[in-house]
Amino acid sequence: MTLGLINANPIVREKKERITRPDLQFLFSVYTNLLVRSINIVRDIRDPEHPYSLEQLSVLSEESITVDEKLGRILITFTPTIQHCSMATVIGLCLRVKLKDCFPPHFKVDIKVAPGSHADEEAVNKQLNDKERIVAAMENPNLRQLVDECLYSSEL
């Protein structure tokens, strides 16, 4: 862990209104339900370094998640706040933990950094999607604690 913050001055946006249209929900296709539910679930994950949500820091937006319902595939793309963000792995873990029980078990989740948003894009993407490494990381108590803090700290 670095001592100083990697990105001390992030740009912070307004929180957007929650998407809730209960009267129309039964008209939505499975695709839209999954998409809406997952966006609402991940948008409030707290950034590892700052007391703001990933959505407020523009790390995630509604365009971040694509779902292929037929194949059972989900792709999440996020934009780390700066090019050398070493927190990308932690953000990736947070996303996986948060989404773990949201989809049917056969759905596959891939997480990548937005193209051009990170200096080591290929290396980061490889680590974000190595299942064995993810499982081992989550068994590491220090990393697990950091992830839990990002997920369960209260909204500001």
Partner: protein
């Protein structure tokens, strides 16, 4: 069972083994069982930190019961397990950075030794053909070779460095003491003991520049004669490699492996496991929940052997398949292990 080129095959589910409470990572058939009236034994290891031993109810039935649960030893995921060639000992490799050695005493399994030394998660364990050497590998990028001594002593004889990333699997050659490892660094390394210096060293690296894989190599397996090896990868291909087996067996540690064939286009998600049966059928287990079987095709081109897809079993499991292992006894049984927490036993048969 001789398999003809155009014969239609089917893979039938014989049994589903439940009991583990987390994903099942690895499987190992006990090589001293499953023939001559001895019921087959299968070991499985899991994210639930335990190892389960499954035994065939009787030599004539294909029903397995859970005979033992090896627990309260590993603190973290048990990633891999392997039986010694005699079938008397089971080695289990764990994310807790240790490898445990177990022996059956009466109706229980007892841990008779713990191998420590790796700096972090141990990913794989393999016994050599004679049972006198053991190899382990880890995220610490190292491969350790241990000598098996009397009284359940295991001495480290070499710590092999060379991989630049996490080492996913180690596997000894079936007939000679040459060790193979595959890694997150996309390469396969071949390690042998130098006759002059008695030191173990890397004698070959199969990388992208020698037609190797372009992403993590997850597993490797040899054919029964040991003159060919198949590897599988996150790059969605399986590759077959060959060696001059006469040269290798004569003790020439520089007998080199060359690329024979790549099979792209069959898998669309990471291939976690590959296993070559004694009858020559290659099975793969992948992150798309499917099992695929490949066999040598009769298409003899000038470039060497080629392989074709014999069968694809979609939705073999509800989630990723982490391991596929053929039973060593010619019974055409295949075991598969999955993130869904179950193990399935399959029987391969011809449709005629």
């Amino acid at each position: 069972m001789p398999l003809l080129e155009e014969e239609a095959l089917k893979l039938s589910e014989v049994q589903r083994l439940e009991g583990h409470t987390d994903r099942v990572w690895g499987l190992a058939w006990n090589p001293a069982t499953g023939a001559d009236g001895v019921p087959a034994i299968l070991a499985s290891c899991s994210g639930d930190k335990t190892v389960r031993i499954w035994q065939q109810r009787s030599p004539s039935s294909i029903s397995f019961d859970c005979k033992a649960v090896l627990e309260e030893k590993h603190d973290r995921t048990v990633r891999s397990c392997g039986w010694s060639p005699s079938g008397k000992q089971l080695a289990t490799a764990s994310f807790d950075a240790t490898t445990a050695i177990w022996e059956e005493h009466g109706s229980d399994f007892e841990c008779v030794s713990t191998l420590e030394g790796h700096e972090n998660e141990v990913k794989s364990v393999s016994w050599d053909a004679s049972g006198s050497l053991l190899a382990t590998c880890s995220r610490d990028k190292c491969v350790w070779i241990w000598e098996v001594l009397p009284g359940n002593e295991f001495d480290c004889v070499s710590v092999l460095t060379g991989h630049t990333q996490d080492v996913k699997m180690v596997q000894w050659h079936p007939t000679v003491d040459v060790l193979f490892s595959c890694s997150y660094d996309n390469t396969i390394k071949v390690w042998a003991e130098d006759g002059d210096t008695d030191d173990w060293r890397c004698v070959q690296t199969l990388s992208e520049s020698n037609s190797g894989h372009t992403s993590t190599v997850w597993a490797l397996s040899f054919n029964v004669t040991g003159d060919k090896m198949v590897t599988c990868s996150d790059d969605l291909t399986i590759k077959v490699w060959g060696v001059d087996i006469i040269r290798l067996q004569s003790g020439d540690i520089n007998a080199s492996w060359c690329h024979l064939c790549t099979m792209p286009g069959y898998h669309d998600r990471t291939i976690f496991s590959v296993h070559w049966s004694r009858e020559g059928i290659i099975a793969t287990g992948a992150a798309d929940d499917a099992i695929r079987l490949f066999g040598e095709s009769e298409d003899h081109s000038a470039d060497g052997p080629s392989y074709k897809l014999l069968l694809k079993k979609e939705k073999a499991h509800a989630m990723d398949i982490n391991s596929v292992q053929w039973s060593p006894t010619g019974s055409m049984l295949l075991a598969s292990a999955s993130d869904d927490g179950t193990i399935k036993i399959w029987k391969l048969e011809s449709m005629q």
